[in-house]
């Protein structure tokens, strides 16, 4: 008995994968639990562990080749030399990229926008769903028929879906009702992935996209006004920008890594759908720095950074201002009861934000240890989905680069992000004198659907008083 192994879905947001290394060779025997290959996903490089055992008879994709989830990647057989020609045929018929079908919201429409799932940060506008693997190629209803012969009952024969994979003719399939929903919401459905047969976009895909804050439909002409509801930015086209006409200077094109694609998609969607506004405050950090020195002296073996302390300060402030620790969902505001802070980490490939959970319960030392571990894993592309998904608030610190001030783009579906600039030694007013002081500009970007100006200002006031009088963290 031979079987096809397909590109697995290793994370809820994974749509395509790349084999980076085969860890076995053709002809090898492989056991359950052994790693067959290392697979690069949109977030990390992960091990693909076998759920079956057998002999590896063929590899169907090249390392480095990007294929959608569900594409056959190898042939496994029970015995070392049995005939696999049928399976090879099957592989050929499924091979050239079947359209990926990441599962969107699996909730009934009556449940509203199905936002019961924890949000995925930073990327993926679609909410994650629990289902991993692709549906099998054979129509499942045949296996579940009550009794024997005539299949004329169920629809597999006549009307309904033939194969799960999209026919590959380039047409985007959408159910009439889903199309109506999308048009009502001003949603651009052309770029959505459908979870129905043949890649059909169905109502729950639209609902999922709305809950995840998908980009609204754009007018076709680039100069036209953006569709109502879009942020008043220059309309970013859903497709690739047209190359400029006229003679070009010499250039080289770089392929997009998956991470880059995800960042591009998420940041665009964030700026297009979330009404951002920025509130800045210059805080005096002498007391904060002094506290760090004191802690260093008392606990020489514990390394904590200013950023670790800032994460804690934010958590304290967020508890006092829960509106900042919230999320906008179409028909309600969700307030989180814990503070899970996502920390922006720069890697070779791009930006990723691992999450420190329940910061309100942790001290500096634990926060520091976790952040360090997560940052290292992030740089090695080894973060698991549980480590980078979710988060109720994000901090991005560019102080180490000498940036004096900046504002960050909100990670949807969070409602705010704090941009922390560098500590600057500069003149400050003390009483009636001008003295040297140390300041740091912090800028909060807020989602105006949830957070009004005063709320942002009050949060910053609390945060800066915590930074300037750190013992307030004990209150």
């Amino acid at each position: 008995m031979a079987m096809l192994l397909s590109m697995p879905s290793l994370s809820p947001t994974m749509e395509t994968g790349v084999i980076t290394t085969w860890r076995k060779s053709v002809g090898d025997h492989i056991d359950v639990g052994e790693v067959l290959a290392e697979i690069e996903t949109d977030k990390a490089v992960m091990d693909y562990e076998m759920a079956d055992e057998g002999f590896i008879r063929a590899f169907l994709v090249e390392p480095g080749q990007e294929v959608p989830v569900g594409t056959p990647i190898a042939i496994l057989s029970e015995t070392a030399d049995e005939d696999i020609s049928e399976t090879e045929q099957q592989a050929k018929s499924q091979a050239p990229a079947a359209a990926p079908q990441p599962k969107a919201q699996d909730q009934p429409p009556a449940a509203g926008n199905g936002s019961g799932q924890p949000p995925a940060a930073p990327a993926a506008p679609q909410q994650p769903a629990p289902a991993p693997a692709q549906p099998p190629a054979t129509p499942p209803q045949q296996a579940q028929q009550a009794a024997a012969p005539p299949q004329a009952q169920q629809a597999p024969a006549p009307s309904a879906a033939p194969a799960p994979a999209a026919p590959g003719d380039g047409r985007v399939r959408i159910s009439p009702f889903a199309r109506k929903l999308a048009e009502q919401q001003g949603l651009n459905w052309q770029s959505l992935q459908g979870s129905g047969p043949g890649g059909r976009i169905v109502a729950r895909d639209i609902e999922g996209a709305i809950a995840g804050g998908a980009p609204p439909a754009q007018a076709p002409a680039p100069q036209a006004q953006p569709a109502s509801g879009a942020a008043p930015q220059a309309p970013a086209p859903a497709r690739a920008a047209q190359p400029p006409s006229g003679p070009l200077p010499p250039f080289e094109d770089l392929p997009l890594s998956m991470m880059r694609k995800v960042i591009a998609r998420t940041m665009t969607q964030s700026k297009q759908t979330v009404p951002h506004f920025q509130t800045s405050r210059k805080v005096r950090v002498e007391a904060f720095l002094e506290l760090r020195e004191q802690l260093k002296a008392q606990f020489p073996d514990v390394r904590i950074s200013i950023n670790d302390m800032l994460i804690k300060a934010c958590a304290v402030a967020l508890r006092k201002h829960p509106v900042i620790n919230s999320q906008f969902l179409d028909d309600r505001i969700r307030r989180f009861n814990t503070v899970d802070v996502a920390v922006a980490v720069n890697t070779d490939d791009g930006l990723i934000t691992p999450v420190v959970r329940n910061v309100e319960q942790k001290g500096f030392a634990q926060i520091a240890t976790e952040v360090r571990a997560l940052a290292e894993k992030a740089r090695e592309r080894k973060l698991t989905p549980e480590e980078y998904q979710g988060g109720t608030f994000t901090i991005s610190n560019m102080g180490m680069f000498g940036v004096t001030e900046f504002n960050a783009i909100i990670n949807p579906p969070q409602a705010a992000i704090l941009a922390v600039a560098g500590v600057m030694r500069e003149p400050v007013v003390q009483g009636d004198d001008i003295v040297p002081g140390q300041t740091m500009m912090i800028t909060l970007s807020s989602d105006h659907r949830v957070i009004d100006g005063v709320a942002a200002a009050e949060f910053l006031a609390t945060l800066s008083s915590i930074i300037e009088t750190p013992l307030a963290m004990l209150m």
Partner: protein, 328 residues
């Protein structure tokens, strides 16, 4: 405001008795309706009550006595023709289709045919191929006939009274397996209009359209649907022709998913017509193609197990519902 708990067959009996009391032109004819009190006891005691001029035992000659009934209707009477089963009505198919259905039209309106052709139709319990025909779509096919098929005793009584009062030939298809059902009905008189569907069960996930015995089957299987987390809206057309598309369309607009269930065959079955009406009216409301659950494409055998396998079951309807919900 009293109620009575009676059998489905008694409800039919009451409808005929009340209408015969009300209008002396109404009379009943058919095999065994008089002295035997009805092959299924639907006409119990009616001969005693109304006498042999109004409760007429016929020979086994459907073609003949249906023709007689049509003649009676043309000359001012309002016959109720009972077929021992609708399988036997096929012997009188030409009378029904060529004469009953067309005479009003062909006579330029001079001869309305106010008659009811009633009896049990469809599969029963191992009555085998020739006695299990589902004839609904055969009669619904011809303009000039109304076709009614109730699933509850309440509907049966109300619709039969309306059918008797209707000036058109009405094919009234009952189901032998429902005759023994007990139900609580009002004591006072009421009618149910022909041509109106009813939402028997409110739901939100999927519209299941079913009538007669199939509607009854779904009513009894609601728990199984609930176990699968499927909220069913059951729409019973009650009248096959004219079909109440408005009620169906309102349900489709609400749930966006349709399963049509029928005891008859797939090809040219009643469900095919209903599907066509839905696609025409409700295309933009559909999130999935309509799925039909029907009798398999074979004559119904005598063997109990194959009979069961050939007919729809709640499990199949649940599978169909999951299919349109994309939960398979």
């Amino acid at each position: 405001m009293g109620t009575q708990t009676i059998f489905f067959r008694e409800a039919l009996n009451q409808a005929m008795v009340e209408e015969m009391e009300r209008d002396p032109a109404v009379f009943l004819m058919g095999e065994e309706v008089g002295q035997y009190n009805g092959a299924y006891k639907v006409s119990l005691n009616m001969l005693d009550r109304f006498g042999p001029r109004r409760v007429v035992d016929t020979p086994i000659s459907e073609n003949g006595f249906t023709g007689i009934a049509i003649g009676a209707a043309m000359t001012g009477l309002r016959p109720i023709v009972e077929f021992m089963s609708f399988n036997f009505a096929l012997v009188a198919f030409d009378q029904i289709v060529s004469n009953a259905a067309k005479t009003l039209y062909m006579s330029g309106g001079q001869f309305p045919i106010p008659m009811v052709l009633r009896g049990p139709g469809g599969p029963a319990a191992q009555v085998a191929a020739q006695h299990s025909n589902v004839v609904d779509s055969l009669f619904a096919y011809f303009p000039g006939l109304k076709v009614v098929s109730p699933s509850t005793a309440y509907d049966a009584k109300g619709l039969l009274k309306s059918a008797i009062r209707d000036n058109n030939p009405v094919v009234f298809i009952e189901n032998e397996m429902l005759y023994g059902l007990k139900e609580e009905l009002p004591e006072e008189e009421y009618t149910v209009p022909i041509g109106e569907a009813e939402v028997k069960v409110q739901g939100s996930d999927v519209t299941v359209i079913a009538y007669s015995r199939m509607a009854h089957m779904i009513q009894g299987a609601l728990e199984e649907f609930a176990k699968e987390n499927i909220s069913v809206e059951l729409v019973d057309p009650r009248t096959i022709r004219p079909l109440d598309v408005d009620t169906i369309a309102a349900s489709v607009a609400k749930t966006h998913r349709v399963v049509i269930l029928e005891e008859g065959h797939r090809f040219c079955g009643v469900g095919a017509q209903i599907a066509d009406d839905i696609y025409s009216r409700c295309f933009d409301d559909l999130d999935a193609p309509i799925v039909r659950v029907t009798h398999t494409d074979n004559p119904l055998p005598y063997a109990k197990n194959i009979e069961a396998a050939s007919l729809p079951s709640p499990a199949q309807v649940i599978q169909a519902a999951k299919q349109v919900l994309y939960r398979l």
